[in-house]
Symmetry: C2
Subunit: 461 residues, 2 copies
């Protein structure tokens, strides 16, 4: 049995590890386009903030660790074609030499590439011009080299999602003056604006110039100075800096699979079932290149590292004859921005409404632990529940680092996994000690506040 996994990131490595764990007799080859298998792409901003040094630390596992599991790595090797009938993968190495790899099972984890959001100029300007995307270790080295060589004093970050916010922090820590441009009305558009505004306040507090409602259409370079232009409030908008970083999401890399006959669906990603089968015989796929089964929304496209790990693990088990199922995503996410932590799971109001649910959302503020004990901080918690059947639909939280935001969102995620009602959250036997919580945890205080709000709303109508 020879399993070939394409991709050295979360999906590919998870597939390889799972197959080897369950059956050490399986031969596993991982085909990696660059020299950096199993690097933590989510950790890149902390390399730029210099909290993580050297860059080699970003590897989840070293090359030696990976080979010690019994898998074979083929680095600097590009997968160029799949012969589904012949169960053969064509590859090209760094020297341009082409060859083929026979397989019994293939897992394609080619991931995604940075979106350029239709911004003109990105086709002509690149890292050497001070215009950067950020998605791979190659991008990382290019940006670091530019920072070293050119000592830019100012940066424009186009985009204020997770990576954009983390890079705003990192470049600020590095001493650059940062302007953050966001298309929507508030940063971190994955949260409702009333919670996103708390994240913006933290950015502003640390000197980041945040400009929302800004649609950027082009980047140009003139005399060593970079200028982004677009529109804001219906008028023209432009801003200049020494460095431009565009981080506005990703698009799935699907060419290899579609050329082999695979279909694409949500978000242009490759269609897979919950067993991570592409429908092509013996061809599995996982990670940022495939559609996401969402427990509440059905099939969507929501690429996340945690999901890629889970999908890869499922694919690895099934590729060697198992019958695992991806249980589905809830879109659970958390981000630290300076000393603020923001998290979400499940659906927000408009997402639930679009899914024909009857959402009601309410924001409560509850202390992370008993106020009498030093260091208590308020957590803003926005609960979305279905006002018809009382089911929990989603939760968003913003609070201070140290307030256990990340693991509090996990309680909601676990509750959502089981389709709990908002009211039933009060039945959960959660832990309590005054320095770390309350007899009713903040998670439960917010759900009780939601119940009261629905009751009051019903009484008033």
């Amino acid at each position: 049995m020879h399993l070939v996994a394409i991709g050295g990131s979360d999906a590919g490595i998870s597939t390889a590890l799972r197959a080897r764990e369950l059956d050490p007799s399986v031969d596993v080859t991982v085909v990696v386009a660059d020299r950096y298998p199993n690097f933590s792409i989510c950790g890149i901003p902390y390399y730029f903030s210099r909290e993580v040094q050297p860059w080699q630390s970003l590897a989840h596992r070293t090359h030696a660790d990976l080979e010690a599991t019994g898998m074979t790595l083929r680095l600097d090797t590009l997968a160029t074609g799949i012969d589904v009938e012949g169960r053969t993968l064509s590859v090209r190495d760094a020297d341009g030499v082409e060859s083929t790899i026979p397989y019994d099972a293939l897992m394609v984890g080619t991931g995604a590439s940075p979106s350029t959001a239709g911004i003109s100029g990105l086709d002509r300007l690149g890292p050497d011009d001070g215009v950067h995307l950020l998605h791979s270790m190659g991008d990382t080295f290019a940006l670091e080299r530019y920072l070293d060589d050119h000592r830019p004093e100012s940066a424009i970050i186009v985009g204020a999602g997770y990576v954009g916010l983390e890079m705003a922090e990192a470049l600020t820590v590095r001493g650059l003056t940062v302007t953050q441009l966001q298309r929507g009305p508030e940063v971190l558009s994955t949260l409702d604006p009333e919670l996103g505004s708390l994240v913006r306040a933290e950015l502003v507090h640390h000197g980041v110039d945040v400009v929302t409602g800004t649609r950027i259409t082009s980047v140009a370079r003139d005399d060593g100075r970079l200028t982004v232009t677009g529109t804001r409030d219906g008028g023209a908008f432009s801003r200049s800096a020494d460095l431009v970083l565009v981080v506005v999401g990703v698009r799935p890399n699907t060419a290899l699979l579609t050329a082999a006959g695979a279909a694409t669906g949500a978000g242009g990603a490759v269609v897979v079932d919950d067993r991570m089968s592409t429908g092509l015989p013996h061809v599995w796929a996982a990670g940022d290149g495939v559609v996401t089964h969402h427990r509440q929304l059905g099939v969507t496209y929501l690429p996340l590292g945690t999901t890629a790990h889970k999908q890869g693990r499922v694919a690895g088990e099934n590729a060697i004859g198992g019958d695992a199922r991806f249980a589905g995503s809830l879109g659970t996410q958390v981000v630290k921005v300076f000393d603020v932590v923001a998290a979400r799971t499940g659906l927000r109001d408009h997402e639930a409404a679009a899914a024909h649910l009857s959402p009601h959302s309410h924001t409560a503020v509850a202390d992370d632990h008993k106020r009498y004990y030093p260091g208590a901080t308020p957590i803003s918690i926005r609960i979305t529940g279905d006002e018809r059947d009382g089911r929990l639909l989603g939760a968003q939280m913003v609070g201070t680092r140290g307030a256990e935001i990340a693991k509090r969102i996990d309680t909601y995620a676990t509750a959502l996994h089981h389709g709990m009602s908002v009211a039933a959250l009060s039945d959960l036997d959660l832990s309590y000690t005054p320095p770390l919580g309350s007899p009713w945890d903040a998670v439960q205080m917010a759900s009780q506040a939601w119940e009261r709000d629905v009751r009051d709303f019903a009484a008033a109508h």
Copy 2:
């Protein structure tokens, strides 16, 4: 409708708040034996460590806050008898004046009293002699007065449960030399010894002299010096100090209800059903004085503040005509001892075996967040699962303060609430960002380690 709640602690106040919340037309009277309604008994150790000052801060709500909800408080009033037929409560005030209070519904939350564990001398020696129990604000003031007046330099704490450990920290912080005596083989006997030993190491690191395997049978006072004696390793044991604090658990206060005809059960506590009915007409009970419905063990006795809050809320709803059910405890607990946090939920090996389950336990160590990001610390996680059907039975964790231990145990508690298998924990969509977690959270790494351990164990047998 007149609801009378006896007891100013968690159960009584929760009952009163819930009744008033659901129906503001209900008259609610709370009969409180002392002058300190709604104080956080769990916070007392932080008063002694001087992290919480003044003592008034320990109130969850002030007297005025409580009265603003529309409830009536009768302080310094002891409930002396229940006329079930006549729906009348007899009380005696601080001046010894007896009177009666008619009720439509009665909730009894008389709580528990400190156990003396059969230690002789405790009947003769009291706070003025330097021998203390600790369960009420009265006990708190007595101990504080003794510390102020006598400036003891050394203390013996008999017991190493939650309060014992927190008081060992508090008195150490106050400058006393503390000896902690524990009957079992390891401190914090609610955890398995391999995890309890991590807590002991933290105590020792901070100068606490921990002596385990020690059975104390008497306390004596001679010439101002207190001596505890007992046995250890089959031989005689004694130790002397300026102060002795006995914190070895509690026993339920049941006299009021048993005199009225209520039955007692597990742990000598009053029997109630999951609606918190005593079976006596219109008489409800909740808190440390009643049996605990445990989701895994059935009826047991496991007094905890979180449980008293939940039971009181259920009683308050039912007393005014509702039909709420206490969903049951999982014994979820957490304690901070200096800079270590220890938590548990569900069952341990021997508890599960006694309940005729087939437990298998395995301890894993996983970082709280990605090791490459500064400040990562290891968490020891012991998973107990059923090796027959793979169900999660319980989890124990010890880690560093700041490692989100309290809210990580909540993920296990929520999973247990739903009867999840250990394997299904890997299906949970938990949050991830490198400074606060891992793509597979520590919670999932430990469950995957348990799965591997079971597989290896099965393969070897």
